[in-house]
């Protein structure tokens, strides 16, 4: 398949995912509800936190934990729904595997970007998280989201046909995600504390490198996973 056709197929899959989601709003509602409930529960449970040197790290860890578990509720859906509604065979027969992977990945990325903005805003308001370097905070958040999506989309395809999908998704994803989570938490904490690019560039580059490595690996493996 030539790149033009691959891009056309990828775009069609993203558009179809968005159309379906906007009509039934299952993932959107689940993710938004989870994000709001988690941040509210954490803010009520912890109350106002005292200023300390560790506060940025605590806020960053809370932010990424909430993002991670909200992502677990939403990201696997793109493949699980195809199997549950038995539309996977029609898609398998018509669409090139790489377009399926890229389309699902881009849709998950759009979903998680929206989720990250929501969780960040809620954390700033309800947990009184101070962001001393907002532009670099946005850069770390974007790189982290890209790494999170790149790390989980292939796993979502692997678990889609299994019976215990929810548990399996978390169990298989977590070991893959730990390196990027640690990096994202540290990078976010640095931006909350007001560090500049000289200190934040290492976590950002690590997250982008992780995302690229996962993306390339997934592109190599996806056809086998999808067709098996």
């Amino acid at each position: 398949m030539n790149p033009g056709n691959l891009w056309q197929a990828t775009r069609a899959i993203v558009r179809r995912e968005a159309q379906s989601e906007l009509r039934n709003r299952q993932a959107l509602n689940a993710v938004a509800l989870f994000a709001v409930c988690s941040v509210v529960a954490v803010s009520l449970g912890l109350g106002p936190l005292n200023r300390s040197a560790e506060l940025p790290l605590i806020h960053a860890a809370l932010l990424w934990i909430i993002l991670l578990f909200a992502a677990f509720t939403a990201l696997a859906r793109v493949f699980v729904v195809e199997e549950e509604q038995r539309t996977a065979a029609a898609l398998r027969l018509a669409a090139p595997p790489h377009a399926v992977y890229l389309g699902k990945l881009l849709f998950n990325l759009m979903l998680l970007v929206g989720l990250a903005v929501l969780v960040a805003l809620l954390t700033i308001v309800l947990l009184r998280m101070q962001v001393k370097n907002p532009s670099l905070f946005a850069v770390v958040l974007a790189s982290g989201v890209l790494a999170l999506v790149a790390g989980t989309t292939l796993v979502a395809a692997i678990i889609a046909r299994s019976a215990a999908r929810g548990a399996l998704f978390a169990v298989l994803s977590l070991p893959i995600l730990i390196p990027m989570l640690v990096t994202a938490v540290r990078g976010t904490a640095l931006t909350l504390a007001g560090s500049g690019w000289d200190r934040v560039n290492y976590p950002v580059m690590t997250l982008i490198a992780y995302a690229v490595a996962m993306l390339v690996t997934s592109l190599f493996l996806f056809a086998t996973v999808w067709e098996s």
Binding site: M1, N5, Q8, A9, R11, A12, I13, R15, R16, Q19, S20, R23, N24, Q85, R86, T87, A89, A90, L91, R92, L93, A94, A95, P96, A99, E227
Partner: protein
């Protein structure tokens, strides 16, 4: 595609043997009708041909210009419809066909999609959500899905199940047109559909 060749296809589900040593060659213009009791492996054979299911042993080859290709490489030239083929219920009939044309990289205009919908008996219903279709209408949309890209290998599994009398006329039209440019494989138990056969294959349960 000049020919479809099945070479000693055997498929086991665990200890149960579903297909054993199935071999046949079908040429362009011919119709292969596969019959057999429930559970004899008719639908499974069609899924093996379009690489939706992997056989335990044997090979499927698609012959094009003297070169043989695996079914996976020839999917763009295949159209498959079956009662268990599901399309997107939250999309309209027209949106479903637009989506599948786009992912196939096929150049199909909206007018052509509307014409195809009319041809399968869904004129004026293309704008309705698939979720609102009756089972017969859904089956007609499956025809449109299979015919959208004018495949040279058409696989029809129980093609007239769920259809009314005009559905049989649709099947007749589809098969006759396909004879002009490709191969048709039909899995059926309906005696009316066996008359299309140039080649008739009878599968036995467990044989």
């Amino acid at each position: 595609m000049q020919a479809l060749e099945l070479e000693q296809i055997t498929l086991d589900y665990g200890a149960r043997r579903v297909l054993y040593d199935v071999s046949v060659t079908v040429h362009t213009g011919q119709v292969l009708v596969v019959t057999g009791r429930n559970g004899s492996g008719k639908s499974t054979l069609l899924r093996v041909i379009c690489a939706l299911q992997r056989q335990t042993s044997g090979e499927v080859w698609c012959h094009v210009d003297g070169v043989r290709h695996s079914p996976l490489a020839m999917r763009a030239a295949m159209g498959w419809m079956a009662p268990d083929l599901m399309l997107y219920r939250e999309l309209t009939g027209h949106e479903n066909l637009r989506f599948f044309a786009d992912v196939r990289g096929a150049t199909v205009s909206d007018a052509q999609i509307s014409a195809l919908l009319a041809e399968v008996g869904l004129a004026g219903r293309g704008g309705d959500l698939l979720a609102t279709y009756s089972s017969g209408m859904t089956h007609r949309l499956r025809y449109a899905y299979a015919l959208l890209h004018q495949p040279s290998l058409l696989l029809l599994d129980e093609p007239s199940v769920m259809l009314d009398s005009s559905g049989h006329e649709l099947l007749e039209r589809v098969v006759e047109r396909q004879r002009g440019h490709g191969i048709t494989v039909i899995a059926t138990n309906d005696p009316r559909e066996q008359r299309f056969a140039d080649l008739l294959m009878r599968l036995e349960v467990g044989a």
